[in-house]
């Protein structure tokens, strides 16, 4: 987050570049782009103070369409470049777009370190559970047994959950949303933007060409109420069309279950209350198996802390305060010298 105050009124057009958008018709990336472009004007950051950084993949083409500064880098390395940008100029607001391949396959290490360091950049991971740009191979988030061009007999890997991974990396803000849920997605983006420190938001994104309907089981209109649970801090973890289902923890077995209010004597006081500051709870919610449990959306975890870039900047400032502004002549003549 940057502290620069906007000096002019911003609209969606201010954030839309003149480049032709080159995603497949029907791709979920369009919806995300639209929500981002709609949300940006509300954040109070001028386009010239904003940088969008990405790796390689369909999702990583995103920066071309934002009328801000943008850097379409190399596969998996966006976190390093974004870190360099933020450290070099902490006044910039840095967003990063990555994919499940870019961010979790080749780029998993950089993502991990970026999150644990709490670099103040906002990361959006478009998870379509497939490699789109290379025309459809399975990704680290694809379900085991996935049949793709490279795995005609099914993939042999256990998938990774991006939210679980981010929690394992000590991320200071972890959220999840869905491409087509414009309102929810907009809220998550706003939350991320306002969080002081690094943020990680997974966005389920449909690749209609190579992995169509990957999220239909809980994204579709007719099932979503029963199959999604929206996390809200301080509120009981209820879901269902009439909010009569809820999550309950057995304190003895340390196991979670879905219960229905009114059944078996269950009341709201039996239901877990969401606490964004509790990493263990976040972890448990992210690990709920589907479809036995609903899919959790919203902010899993958010606790602000010191950022890497702030600490780095402080050291430079502190060092100037303590040692005085560097004097080259003094440096060159420091230690033992002799004169001829």
């Amino acid at each position: 987050m940057s502290n620069v105050v906007p000096t002019r009124n911003l609209t969606r057009a201010d954030f839309s570049s003149d480049q032709d958008i080159r995603w497949c018709p029907g791709c979920g990336d369009y919806a995300i782009l639209a929500t981002v472009q709609r949300t940006m004007p509300e954040l109070g950051v001028l386009p010239e103070n904003m940088v969008w950084v990405s790796g390689i993949g369909c999702s990583s083409r995103f920066p071309y369409y934002m009328n801000t500064y943008g850097f379409h880098t190399i596969h998996g390395r966006a976190p390093g470049i974004a870190t360099g940008i933020k450290v070099a100029n902490p006044d910039l607001t840095v967003w990063m777009v990555t994919g499940d391949g870019d961010g979790l396959s080749i780029g998993g290490n950089h993502l991990m370190h970026c999150l644990r360091r709490n670099v103040d950049i906002n990361i959006l991971l478009f998870n379509n559970r497939i490699y789109g740009l290379t025309k459809g191979q399975y990704s680290p988030t694809s379900e085991t047994g996935k049949i793709t061009k490279s795995t005609p007999m099914g993939s042999t890997d256990n998938p990774l959950d991006p939210v679980v991974f981010a929690l394992g990396c000590n991320a200071s803000f972890v959220a999840r949303s869905i491409d087509v849920e414009a309102k929810h997605l907009g809220q998550m983006i706003t939350r991320a933007a306002n969080h002081r420190g690094g943020t990680f938001t997974e966005i389920y994104q449909n690749c209609n060409v190579f992995n169509d309907e990957a999220f239909e089981a809980f994204r579709a209109k007719d099932v979503k109420d029963e199959r999604q649970i929206h996390l809200e801090h301080g509120k009981p973890l209820l879901f269902g069309a009439d909010k009569r289902k809820g999550l309950r923890l057995d304190p003895k077995t340390f196991k979670l279950s879905v219960v229905t209010l009114g059944e078996n004597g269950m009341t709201e006081s039996d239901i877990l209350v969401h606490d964004e500051t509790n990493q263990t709870l976040a972890y448990m919610l992210a690990r709920m198996p589907f479809p036995q449990f609903p899919v959790a959306l919203g902010v899993f975890y958010a606790v602000e802390g010191e950022t890497y870039n702030a600490r780095t900047e402080q050291q430079v400032n502190f060092s100037v305060d303590k040692q005085g502004k560097g004097d080259l002549t003094k440096l060159l003549n420091s230690g033992e010298t002799w004169t001829v």
């Binding site: 570049s17 480049q19 001028l46 386009p47 010239e48 103070n49 904003m50 940088v51 950084v53 920066p63 071309y64 934002m66 009328n67 801000t68 500064y69 943008g70 850097f71 379409h72 880098t73 190399i74 390395r77 976190p79 390093g80 470049i81 974004a82 870190t83 360099g84 940008i85 933020k86 450290v87 070099a88 100029n89 006044d91 910039l92 290490n109 950089h110 370190h113 780095t312 050291q315 430079v316 502190f318 060092s319 100037v320 303590k322 040692q323 005085g324 502004k325 560097g326 080259l328 002549t329 440096l331 060159l332 003549n333 230690g335 033992e336 010298t337 002799w338 004169t339 001829v340």
Partner: protein
């Protein structure tokens, strides 16, 4: 018993000699690096010219007494010009049997061998593979043996310090240093001052070390040594203030200087690796110069943070050694394609793969020039001496920011760890570096170029009206947008090449370091072979041979007069610590039948080796 130096009183005046080569060798725990660098400081302050060669074991702290645990430090100091740490020492100090075993072969016939007989225990002899004690019997008869129980003498000297025996024993390097100071008639004060500083917080250790130093000196003075003493008068140095500087320190300081000279902040992204880590260490101590150092997760991230910083308008730098360099290549390609300034510093070490991390080599030249996918031209420069690293680091920043390009600066373990007396430059004499960040909106696109340098505009985020997107896909010459057009790719490829080639107009011509401007033989070097070649050419010329030296600091592009200069000699010899890399380029680009002298032993050339090769070629 060997022809050992007899113990007797000696109060003769020291005899004047031109210079000497001394090698200290001992266990990793024996403090030989400190001994060597103290001896060096004192020699420097006395005005000697000098060069040093520290030779560490690969292990952090190898088990005591082992052959691979031996640590060495050689110094060549003189009243003449010194260009190398010297081939074979005049004096070898061997603190234990392993040190003797691994270093004796280097000692000049008839040279002085100082051995700590106290460490020649049965156990240590066995670890070093000696069946019998070599200090006994005749086996050292080719040398002047001075066998002293330094361990015991030290314990005695520091008895009053209250240190434990183990701690007390650690002082024996200062005892030895004291003895060497006596031998070369050097004052103790500089080292005593240094001890004062270093051990401020542990007065007992301070006192013990000082006592040991004095005792070693007194041993020579008062007692009992038949050996001659020497005086090495100061060298004739250019006027000025001098200091010792190692290549890695000079590199770090050059970067600090470049940041100051350009008024532009510097961001180092780095990942530790031998022998480059010291640049990171040194730079991290100078944050008050607006320098930011990031130790990141790997070499790729290191290159990428530097690129990010460059994109944001700072001087992005990344430092590493060979294997790390391999990992950075894809990212460097991105900087080539996006035409961002980036300084990449490779302190080369022996390869391939992990190779011999603590040994030196020059085998990454090809990698620097050609190690990326596609046609990916970058500027490549190389430092010749430890002090030269300072200037070449500044030059790397100047070229990177002026031409919006990665610049690879090659150094090596020998330069990085080696030190030399260095004349401290007057800051006002250093080149100004003009950094332009574009702000003008009119006519802007990200790949709009300076017609002269062909550099694209450096438009940094935060500048209103210059919002733009860049990336590693080919871009239109005319708009900077993505372009797959065949003609455009040709044009952009040629432009990238022309931009780098054009740097030739902005760098000094290749000069003659030593000798005439034409003749029978030119010895052409690059990088850390400078000193050995210089000395070898000098000596050969002193023998009347027609041979000259030129030394390339700019490897891509090469100086404009390169071909012309080479063509003035009948033959060209290129010594390299590799299997012959520069020589292939010289032949391939210029069809000049240069001869290769390739040596790949993880060690610098000796002067002798080059001198012999010169003789062969000139006298043939």
């Amino acid at each position: 018993m060997a022809e050992a130096v007899q113990a007797r009183s000696s109060s003769k005046a020291p005899s004047k000699i031109r210079g000497a080569i001394v090698r200290f060798a001992g266990d990793s725990g024996d403090g030989m690096q400190i001994t060597g660098s103290q001896f060096t400081s004192t020699a420097a302050m006395l005005g000697n010219d000098l060069a040093t060669f520290p030779d560490f074991p690969a292990e952090i702290r190898a088990p005591a007494g082992t052959l691979y645990g031996v640590s060495g430090f050689q110094i060549n100091f003189s009243s003449d010009d010194v260009f190398t740490p010297g081939d074979r020492p005049d004096v070898l100090v061997a603190m234990n049997p392993a040190a003797l075993k691994t270093n004796l072969a280097a000692l000049k016939p008839g040279g002085l061998l100082v051995a700590n007989s106290g460490a020649f225990s049965a156990g240590n002899l066995k670890k070093a593979g000696y069946a019998e004690n070599p200090l006994d019997g005749d086996s050292m008869s080719a040398y002047q043996l001075l066998s002293i129980d330094i361990s015991k003498a030290t314990l005695l000297a520091v008895a009053e310090s209250g240190l434990s025996t183990k701690e007390a024993n650690r002082c024996k390097n200062f005892w030895t240093l004291g003895l060497m100071y006596w031998l070369y008639n050097r004052p103790l004060e500089p080292t005593l001052r240094w001890l004062d500083q270093k051990f401020k917080k542990t007065p007992d250790v301070l006192a013990a070390n000082a006592a040991a130093l004095k005792a070693g000196h007194a041993y020579g003075e008062t007692a009992e040594i038949s050996h001659e003493r020497y005086d090495v008068p100061p060298a004739v140095h250019e006027k000025g203030t001098y200091r010792n500087i190692s290549g890695n320190q000079a590199t770090a300081w050059g970067l600090v200087a470049a940041s100051q000279l350009s008024g532009t902040g510097l961001v180092l992204g780095s990942y530790p690796i031998t022998p480059a880590s010291d640049i990171l260490h040194e730079l991290s101590r100078h944050k008050n110069f607006g320098v930011t150092t990031l130790q990141v997760e790997d070499e790729i991230a290191a290159a990428c943070t530097a690129i990010g910083a460059s994109y944001a308008g700072k001087i992005g730098v990344t430092t590493t050694s060979g294997p790390g360099m391999a990992l950075k290549m894809e990212a460097i390609g991105l900087a080539v394609s996006t035409e961002l300034p980036l300084v990449v510093i490779n302190i080369q070490r022996a390869g391939p793969s992990t190779g011999m991390p603590t040994k030196t080599e020059q085998a990454d030249l090809f990698q620097a020039l050609y190690g990326r996918n596609g046609e990916s031209p970058v500027c490549v420069i190389a430092a010749a001496t430890p002090g030269d690293c300072f200037y070449m680091a500044i030059e790397a920043v100047r070229l990177a920011t002026k031409y919006m390009t990665p610049v690879i600066l090659l150094s090596d373990g020998y330069l990085g760890n080696g030190a030399e007396p260095w004349k401290i430059p007057d800051v006002s004499s250093l080149p100004k570096i003009e950094v332009k960040h574009r702000t003008e909106v009119e006519g802007f696109h990200p790949f709009v170029r300076d017609p002269e340098t062909l550099a694209r505009a450096w438009a940094v985020p935060g500048t209103p009206g210059l919002e733009h997107r860049i990336g590693g896909i080919e871009k239109s010459f005319d708009s900077g947008h993505i372009s797959y057009s065949p003609e455009n790719h040709q044009k952009m490829s040629e432009t990238r090449a022309a931009k780098i080639a054009g740097i030739a107009n902005d760098i000094p011509e290749l000069g003659i370091e030593e000798g005439e401007a034409s003749g029978k033989l030119l010895v052409l070097g690059w990088g850390s072979t400078y000193g050995s070649i210089r000395e070898a050419v000098r000596r050969s010329r002193a023998r009347g041979l027609s041979v000259s030296q030129a030394h390339l600091r700019y490897l891509n592009p090469m100086p404009k007069n390169f071909v012309e200069l080479l063509s003035r000699f009948d033959k060209v010899l290129i010594p390299e610590m590799n299997m012959g890399q520069l020589v292939k380029i010289v032949r391939g680009e210029h069809l000049i039948p240069a001869e290769s002298y390739a040596k790949i032993e993880g060690m610098p050339f000796t002067v002798d080796e080059i001198e012999q090769r010169i003789s062969q070629l000139v006298e043939a």
